[in-house]
Every structure is written in C-alpha cells, then in structure tokens.
Amino acid sequence: MKGMKKVEVIIEAVYINKFLAFMNKHGVDSYTLIKDIEGKGGHGLKLADDITDVGANDYIFAVVEEDEYLKFKEELRSFIKKYGGKCFVTDTMMLL
C-alpha cells in the first residue's frame, strides 16, 4: 500500500487561485475547498463577514501520494512562506 499525505492549507482568499495553480502545476488537481472560514490565530480573529476579500481565509485539503508530495514539499514551503497562511501535512489512508 502506497503512503499517502493529507495536505491541509489555510490561506488568504486573494491567493487561492495562485495556490490552486501551484498545486495543479504539481499534478494535484483533486481537492476540497471551503471558502470564507473563520478562526483565530497569530494574526488575531479572522472573520468571514467582511465586504473586502482581503483578510478572508479559505481552507483547502488534498490527498497526495507521498512520493509526489516529496517532489513539491520545498516549493510548497516557499509558497506558504511568501504568501502567508498555515500548512499541515499528515499521514493518511484512503478507505474508499
């Protein structure tokens, strides 16, 4: 059985298209996206009820094979470092 990674990213809504393009470039074209999420982190409370999209956050997760993930891991790190946000990677298993 192949090792799988679940990549979860919280990113500002203005960067979501850039991020999807980045993932697509690395062969990740299946994902789940939740727009306008709310929460509190290092930058304080982030609300979804803002008229401006700056500051609104989106959540995206994708499951990729570990070998594929290792190929873009460092680029992913650079992306998050540049545009901000949070990225979590966990081992996972696809049941169905």
Binding site: V14, K18, D36, A48, D49, I51, T52
Partner: protein, 326 residues
Amino acid sequence: MNIDLIIQNIMNPPVLFFLLGMLAVFLKSELSIPQPLPKLFSLFLLISIGLHGGYELSKSGINIDVVKGLFLAILMASIVPIYSFFILRMKIDVYNAVAVAATFGSISAVTFITGITYLQTIGVEYGGYMVAAMTLMESPAIIIGLVLAAIFARQDNSNTKEKTDWGEILREAFLNPSVFLLMGALLIGIMTGEKGWHAMEPLFGDLFKGILAFFLLDMGLVAAKRIGDLKKVGFFLIGYAIIMPIFNAIVATSLAYFFGLSKGDAFLLALLSASASYIAVPAAMRLSVPEANPSIYLPLSLAVTFPFNISLGIPLYYFLTSLFWG
C-alpha cells in the same frame, strides 16, 4: 465652513445608518448582516449608479465638458499615487508606501454614491459622465503602484528575481468585479437610454436610497471593527489618511476650476480624489505586493478615510467648491 453643511450631510438617513453600524460595534451589540447580503447590496449599487450614469450620458452626449472631466479624472488618479508614494517614503518602507499610495490613489464607489445622494438632497446638478470618470479612476493607481514597486522595491532587493505577472495584474486592474460591472451597466445605460432607465427605475432607482442605507449600515459595522487595527499603524499614517484626502480634494478642485467644470462635477471629482479604495486596490496589492502589510493600508482606508469622508469630508469638499464657484 458652515455647520449647516455638516448637519445637512449627517442628517441624511444612509449616513445615519453608517453611524448606527459603528455605534453597534462600540456598544458591543450583536447586530450583524448575514453574508452575502452586503456583497449583493454592493452589486446593486454599482448596477444602479452605472445604469443611471449611462442614461444621463445618453441624454447629454459626448461634449467638451465630458472630455475635460474624464481627462481630469485620469490625471488625478495618476498623479495622486505618485506624489503620495514619495510623501509616504519619508516614514515607511517601499512595499507599504506602494500599497498605501495605490489605495489612496484609487477611489471608493460608495463614497461617490453618498456624495451623489448629498448633491441630490441639496439640489445641485452633476453630469452623468462622472460615473464613467469614477470607473476610470479605479485602475490607474494599481498600475502605477506596481510600476513604483517594480522600480523602487525590486531595485532595493536584488535577491528578488521573481518576475511580475503583468497579465494577472492588468486583469485585476481593469476587469476586477467593480470596474467590470460599473462599465457594463454604464454601457447598458447608454445603449438603452431613457426607455431602458424607466423600465429599470422601480428597482434600481426607487430602492436606491434604502439599499444604500442597508449597505452603509454594514460598512459602519466593518469600519468600526477595523478601528482596533489602527493601534499598530501610528500617528503619521492616521494623520496621512485625513490630511492627504483634503489635499487631494484641494488639488482636484483647483484643476476643475481651471478647466471650467461645473460645480457639481468639480465636487464629485474632489470627492473621488479624496476617497480611498477598500475593495479593489487592497485585493490587487495583496496579490501583487504580498510584502506590504494589509493591517496598515486597509484600516487606514476603511476605518479612517471612509468614515471621515462620509461624515465630514463631503460637506468640507462641497464648501471648498463653493469657495471657487460661489
């Protein structure tokens, strides 16, 4: 300045709803408007103002006054971010100076709409082409901001080898939802003329003030929530967010007088030059200048300049134009 002008503006129901929204946050009320209603109201206002402007433009046609007004609009939208940038560079870094300059170089459609409501209340006429002028003033600041970033910021940091994606930036500048919708509604208004406007008037004319009040109520909530962010911004920038709009309005009024614009059009040009963007430009800056801190440029526009313009700026700029036109 006559205090009656201020009272006349503040006693406008939409402006009072804006203040009510701010009060709700200060008093920790649970008042909120469910999303995405405010975004719908914003689209409604853009369509309404675009259609009405197009209809007015179809009546007046393109004449020398229209050409002069549009020229001045582009001129102001181009020079404001440039001189703002050099003023800001005295105190803040290149990236933030670019983002703040671009934010203040562009315009706020809702401030413009509130200004139109004020003119209607006091019975001063304005040209429908000013809607086109407003649309034209949205984008140049984005382009100029990015050119300034390309010249000064990239020069400073030779490690930054990343190329600017001009295709994406131009798309954001000229095809962002507000510009696209405004321009589209304006063209529809021109094409359909009086017949078209009368068909749409029950929705986009009669309900205009009510929807504006609803939208400004939400803006009051949003602006008041951003006031806390100002603690990190500092006195220089807070002062900038009030003094710079007044300075821009003086420049615009002087140019409008020199070029022979009407009083109503000059007031709207001054108001547009004094307003700052809080939707299109901050989003474009976040996208293209990620090094700039949105906790600086967004609260300045949203929590300082916008409330100032809506409450005191409108009567102040009208007073300014009255000094020239009488």
